[in-house]
Symmetry: C2
Subunit: 388 residues, 2 copies
């Protein structure tokens, strides 16, 4: 078991009636607020006006930047960072899902440096400070509201890269499950697949695991498995939306990963898919995950698959181990493609093997991915092919 540091200082206001605390929390950081958001649905549903009304109670000066893309682009980061510099922004309020929050994190760091923020992603440059970030979450998926990670795309180079820094962690996040009532059926399903993928990538880890964290991950996975179908059936089921929302934060806020030595491999493989084809991240993960699980299964990894099959999917522990493992994978696929109703192959979403070699090479950064197993570009290409 490895040593680790755990630090998750984000303060969370969870529930229906927490918006009254927004102004007081924002005002702690200063007067000038930049509200960031995506395609404008936050305005359509009246959330933006509600937020502005809360901020005005504290005499805050409001700036805004909309139009952050679903796979947020470095151009938006640059634009936001420039607004922060030009206006002397004290605090950023990101209103939206993982894309808006991810973008806002790198705006907050970009505002404090005099170089191009893309350098955070492709050089050794790391933030040493950032404009404080507060978030109002409108979608349960990426967990960005409670961690220091963010993924940004650069369409000029076809790159989609992740970067992590403690400085960009949100100071405060507001999680109101009701705000996810209007999330579409497809995005609810893709978000649930994303949460499950965060947990699966962490659960299948090459190092010694810690029973207490494994059991917690099983609890979070079972939460998604139990409540995603409920939310699809009845989008306004508060209990379902609340459980999914809180599980999403905990799937990737650092708690489950503290004791894990390995990196993730399904995510970098998917990042190439969405960098090349601009697909929804959670959908890409859903399509790759069963193939990825099949590819990594062998006698050496079997024990973990048995634990997964029995504890997460309720497979009969009396069956032969390899059968338990295979049933666990089948049930995962069934959940993603039948219960959640997501497309089950790359072919179904119009992706063929044209760029497989290039994407595989990029995912491996020309060498390999150190995930549950070490993948070469040839391995990655094989998994893409298995997902056709």
């Amino acid at each position: 078991m490895i040593d680790f540091i755990y630090e998750v200082p984000t303060k969370i206001y969870f529930g229906k009636d927490q918006m009254g605390h927004l102004g007081e929390e924002i005002a702690k950081f200063g007067k000038k607020v930049l509200i960031t958001y995506g395609g404008g649905s936050v305005k359509k549903i009246g959330l933006f006006d509600k937020i502005v009304a809360e901020l005005k109670k504290y005499d805050l000066e409001i700036f805004e930047m909309g139009g952050i893309e679903p796979n947020p682009r470095i151009g938006s980061v640059r634009k936001g960072a420039q607004i922060c510099k030009d206006e002397g922004i004290d605090v950023i309020l990101a209103v939206g899902g993982g894309s808006t929050i991810d973008c806002s994190k790198w705006i907050s760091a970009g505002a404090c440096v005099d170089f191009d923020p893309w350098e955070f992603f492709v050089t050794e440059a790391m933030p040493e400070k950032a404009v404080p970030l507060v978030t109002v979450l409108t979608m349960a998926a990426t967990g960005s509201e409670m961690n220091g990670g963010g993924v940004i795309s650069n369409p000029e180079t076809n790159e989609k890269l992740a970067c992590i820094s403690p400085f960009v962690k949100p100071k405060v996040s507001f999680l109101n499950p009701e705000l996810t009532y209007t999330v579409s059926r497809f995005q609810t399903a893709a978000g649930s697949a994303d949460i499950l993928s965060h947990l699966i990538e962490t659960y299948f880890n090459p190092g010694d695991s810690m029973y207490m964290l494994d059991s917690s991950m099983e609890a979070f996975m079972k939460t998604v498995i139990k409540y995603a179908p409920v939310a699809l059936e009845n989008p306004e089921d508060y209990e379902a939306r609340a459980n999914i929302m809180w599980a999403a934060s905990w799937a990737i806020n650092g708690f489950t990963r503290t004791c894990q030595v390995g990196g993730w491999s399904c995510h970098p493989m998917e990042h190439e898919l969405s960098a090349f084809y601009d697909i929804t991240h959670g959908l890409g993960l859903a399509i790759l995950t069963p193939s990825w699980l099949r590819f990594c299964l062998d006698e050496g990894t079997l024990d973990r698959y048995v634990k997964f099959g029995v504890n997460v999917w309720g497979v009969d522990p009396g069956l032969p181990p390899m059968e338990i493992a295979e049933k666990g994978i089948e049930k995962t696929a069934e959940f993603l493609f039948e219960t959640l109703g997501l497309d089950s192959s790359l072919t179904a979403i119009g992706i063929d093997d044209t760029h497989f070699a290039e994407m595989a090479n990029k995912a491996c950064k020309g060498k390999f991915i150190n995930g549950y197993k070490q993948f070469t570009p040839a391995d990655v290409e094989k998994i893409y092919r298995m997902s056709l």
Copy 2:
């Protein structure tokens, strides 16, 4: 489901080789450090010298206060607060278990007020600031290393009272499972009972629960049930000690309780036992818990007992619900009294009914305890009698 605020900012260094970070973390808060500890075992095992050596690397000025009692007394709080005031202490470093940390929390708050710190426990006075607190944990039990609660005894009034404030939360805690290798068999058992009690008191809650948190609590309970016997068998089993230590923090750091409406009732009942008889807290909880569970079981609470029996103790879900519930209680008692080997009755530890009426009245503060069920003093007395 109720709204809640989650905020657990304590930074944790977990593992065998983290002590090298102690000096840098302490130095962030200033130059003058008060090291607090208990009966001196931290000196006997060489831990104190190791800590001093680390602090000296950062030129810190060291003060010390030992002798904090196992059920820490208000006299120690007063003494420590006075040292902080007299010496202008910048940061307190508590080295020990829950007692030393609890006491140090109220020293840290007491140092910042000009009234008697006992007032925090018996009046409306609450801390508005505190001297920063860092901890080095040497025993897994109370979870004090990651929360804002503390329990202090006043032998003059036979009172043992809890108080909670965000200001006294440790800023940083060092959790090295190896430091618990020397914890005695009895204290390991009592500590495990304490952790389990924190989880049981939260799990059995009168309000709507949240599936995701219930499942997490089940995961933490199963961790204690799995590893406490391993640690008793082999006190130097790192995996067992690590799992118990981390589960102890999570049992009571705020995470599991966020969504619960009710208070605890077994703890205030036990506080009277240890206030009157100075017994080990975890032992008192172990003796009371099965009686408490039996007392609260009825048709209205049955569902929760079934969940507990099946998910925590693996009772056959096909049995009649009341039988599952009773088996769950039996298995809890078996674990506490046979597996952990703790005394199973008040009689066995020399406590008779002499003070039952007075203790029951005090536990109810003359009115009632609002826990899983509302208890009158007569109810509390009945549970004491069931535990004879």
